[in-house]
């Protein structure tokens, strides 16, 4: 067996086989213990439910994606700018960073009703909640990137009589990119979750369409368990799409030069 075939085998075949085994186990347990479908639906029932509910789930997914995208963009944009301020000025960092930590310690479940009070039910609150969940990893990582600039490189810029703006543009920002992208990856994983949780806590069906979180509540109250599981499936797919997008960006920006990407022979 060639090494490339072997590696492909372990990348795709092993997880697929494990998944297949778990699905079989699922059917077996359901049959043996005679679990009713409103408690634990069978995998095919979930797929059927997802198909039958597609006229609700698809628009709901779009609503959630919109919330996640907006919240994620805000987290990345604000996070980057804030990190820049923190990374460039030790004084700003000393005065602001502890407060950001305090904010981060605040559970979303407590923030959510406050946002609803301020912004009302619906998209603005959902975006705010997604933002709150995603912005800290961006700030923490990117700040680290701005701070950990190679000392010699900084002195090189001093020798060149570089201005602060030049140092930022040619040294600190490109140097912080790997850190920024790592923060972005974490935020990307959290964004769909944030949007669903936000929708769950602050969502509304204004205009007839709620997000995935809203649908979860609705299916739960109707005891439509297969459909409830189907929302989980949709959330999973959304998460992969988001992370895939960020991974692609990561690869685009770093694959030529960064240690984590280049193939060393």
């Amino acid at each position: 067996m060639s090494p490339s075939l072997r590696s492909r085998l372990s990348t795709y075949l092993l997880p697929a086989a494990t998944a297949a085994a778990l699905i079989v186990l699922w059917y077996v347990l359901k049959a043996v213990f005679q679990v009713p479908s409103f408690v634990l639906p069978a995998p095919h029932e979930i797929l059927v439910a997802a198909w039958e509910e597609r006229s609700f789930l698809w628009p709901a997914a779009l609503v959630t994606v919109r919330g996640a995208l907006l919240g994620f963009s805000a987290a990345v944009g604000v996070g980057f700018l804030l990190a820049m301020a923190l990374g460039f000025s030790p004084r700003v960092k000393a005065s602001l960073y502890p407060l950001i930590l305090v904010l981060q310690m605040m559970p979303v479940t407590i923030l959510a009703p406050i946002f609803v009070l301020w912004l009302g039910q619906g998209l603005p609150s959902i975006v705010a909640i997604t933002f709150m969940i995603g912005f800290f990893p961006v700030v923490a990582n990117t700040t680290m990137g701005f701070i950990s600039v190679d000392r010699n490189l900084r002195e090189l810029f001093v020798m060149c009589n570089a201005t602060r703006a030049q140092e930022a543009r040619y040294l600190r920002i490109p140097g912080a990119m790997p850190y920024f992208l790592t923060g972005m990856k974490i935020a990307g994983t959290l964004a769909p979750i944030g949007a669903i949780v936000g929708d769950f806590l602050a969502g509304s069906a204004q205009g007839g369409v709620g997000g995935i979180g809203y649908m979860t509540i609705s299916y739960f109250s109707q005891l439509k368990t297969p459909a409830l599981f189907a929302t989980g499936l949709v959330a999973c797919v959304m998460g992969f799409v988001f992370v895939g997008g960020v991974n692609w960006l990561h690869w685009r920006l770093l694959h030529l030069w960064h240690d984590s990407m280049v193939k060393k022979e």
């Binding site: 009589n161 140097g175 240690d259 060393k264």
Partner: protein, 253 residues
């Protein structure tokens, strides 16, 4: 030395914070076209002395002037080559070499031309589009030197640039450095641990002692430039090697 010295150091003292004296009573005058090596045991402050001349750190007492002005004001006349190549991993070789010109605000056409010429000088024209990780340690150091040469500095400060390289590569780069200097004349300051390197490159060797770093010996190297690799095997060279090694040993004991 008939004209005023290019670099003058008088009664220089350096300590970091409230720490002990790192350098004490340093007096040195270096004229244009000299190549001065600082050699001494670890912790003798030779790198600090180089950084003082570069204006990267300031003297606790005493005076340093570069071309009659404080070092910080003479930076455009100088360039620094760091211990490791200090390249930006995200910029290609040519972009790394271009950086000082870019920061200085030179026009793109001039930058391209200059970068191509300097890469040719260090023998890396073929590697212009590579990234630093694709190069060997010796090649990276050549890139670093090419970058320093783009601005045609009057003074080149080299802080143990070849310390991490194997002996063959180091010898080769020593020869190349002298060849480059014969075309792009600069006054050189060179920090090293290696006696052979110091003797081969320098017109003058300054031996520094420890605790605090003081000049314990100054050795003139009489061999004319250009120097050939064969110089290393001549009796005169070996004698001077011995003299320098003795001066260095005297410091350690």
């Amino acid at each position: 030395m008939n004209a005023a010295p290019l670099v003058a150091i008088r009664g220089l003292q350096k300590r970091f914070g409230a720490g002990p004296l790192v350098l004490d009573g340093i007096n040195l005058e270096v004229g244009q076209g000299e190549f001065v090596s600082f050699i001494g045991p670890s912790g003798c402050g030779k790198s600090t002395l180089l950084r003082l001349i570069a204006g990267l750190t300031s003297a606790s007492d005493g005076l340093i002037t570069v071309d009659g002005t404080p070092p910080e004001k003479a930076r455009e006349k100088m360039f620094f080559v760091f211990q490791d190549a200090t390249l930006m991993p995200w910029r290609r070789v040519a972009e790394n070499v271009e950086l000082p010109l870019l920061l200085r605000g030179d026009a793109p056409g001039h930058r391209r031309e200059r970068v191509a010429r300097m890469l040719e000088v260090v023998g890396l024209s073929g590697a212009a589009e590579k990234f630093p990780w694709q190069l060997s340690g010796g090649m990276r150091m050549r890139v670093s030197i090419a970058r320093a040469l783009t601005v045609a500095p009057e003074i080149l400060l080299l802080d143990e640039p070849f310390g991490a390289l194997d002996e063959m590569t180091r010898d080769r780069l020593n020869e190349d450095l002298l060849a480059i200097r014969s075309r792009n004349s600069f006054t050189g300051f060179f920090v090293t641990h290696s006696v052979a390197e110091a003797v081969f490159l320098s017109s003058r060797i300054v031996v520094l002692g420890v605790n605090p770093g003081r000049v314990t010996a100054v050795i003139d190297v009489p061999f004319p430039y250009p120097r050939q690799p064969e110089l290393r095997e001549t009796p005169a060279f070996l004698r001077l090697l011995a003299t320098t090694a003795q001066a260095l040993r005297a410091v350690r004991s």
